[in-house]
Symmetry: C2
Amino acid sequence: MTENDKLTEEKIFESATEVFIEKGMDGARMQDIADHAGINKALLHYYYRTKDRLFNAVFEKIAGQMFKKFAPIFDENLSLEEKLRFFFREHITFMQKNPKLPLFILNEFHRNPGRIRKVVQKIDINKLWTVLEAQHKEELKNYNITRETIPQFMTTVAGMSVFPFAARPVIASIMEKMGYDFDQYIEERKEYAPDFIINALKKQV
Amino acid sequence: MTENDKLTEEKIFESATEVFIEKGMDGARMQDIADHAGINKALLHYYYRTKDRLFNAVFEKIAGQMFKKFAPIFDENLSLEEKLRFFFREHITFMQKNPKLPLFILNEFHRNPGRIRKVVQKIDINKLWTVLEAQHKEELKNYNITRETIPQFMTTVAGMSVFPFAARPVIASIMEKMGYDFDQYIEERKEYAPDFIINALKKQV
DNA sequence: TTTAAATTTGACCATCTGGTTAATCTATTT
DNA sequence: AAATAGATTAACCAGATGGTCAAATTTAAA
């Protein structure tokens, strides 16, 4: 029973996750989710009272997973360069397995900005940066990163990783026409991105 | 009369544009658009037969505008560096005025990949690159751009410009907590981005 | 085996939504 | 001023959609 409980509820949750990611909150239909899980629509409301609650459950889990992927950077005992390489390798690999996640998250954050606070509140980014700064005090002297340009740097890193997936349909379509392969392009980006950034940040002596 | 015709049809088109960008195709309601334009809902169907047709009209115009912003790069008589600076200045300025466009476009392309071909087909990107290559044959020798890394380079440029707007809610929320101002960050990005890229591409002699 | 609780379902409902239609209003033409 | 064509509206419709409910079925406890 408890066994079966979890199976049904999990099946619902997983189906909801797939359908919501594919169609978004507005585009998803409760019937689709029920069909996808092979159950009656009323069961959705039995486990999760409303569409909103179901969506919230799905979204919070996904957003959590996504941000967890950033965490290891702060405790791994690596040099800054190695951390950058580590991040791009891990993060892009994760998105290769979940290519539709980025756009889904950006989109639902945009449509309901209230959600962001819940996720962002949990993180003390100032502290995170202070830790990072302390860990690499000497190293940082060789790079063009100042208090003023942290946002520029951070969003550049995030963008180089996320943007190819958020814009995948457009990029893939253009590349196909030019004779490039999108998957290979992604694979190469794991190295290209950190190389690019490290090169950009190095102070010209 | 013809005068009034245009006024009504334009009013509808503009209202539709706003509502579609704000809520997306799925989230937008014909009634919202009618209300926004201050007219009866039936009038929408009088001028544009269906929601799909109305959306298509809006989307094609927007996508067209967006891509036109990339065009000047290919005929302006500037150095590569200057073209990069020109692009970021113009493109980011354009998005400052239409901050919700990028996510809207990415989203609708994702939801209906068929649309992309219509837009992409019109552009012969191979030829565009050949032109660009010929224009800057000498200059390119100093940069780390090869046939193989063109996609990496192009998407990096696009991403550095577009990503901050696509992820604006998240970025702005985090920055607010860190004491940075999003608008100022965007303003500074017009220079930071080309600087960053040029630095990254310069061959270490 | 009986009983009670939890799970699953089919049928149903109120509301919303895109779309239609017949009638009214407006303006131009004759 | 009458007629005609186009613009605008109120009322309406069929189908979809989120959600409910009582009945049926399964599972666990007694």
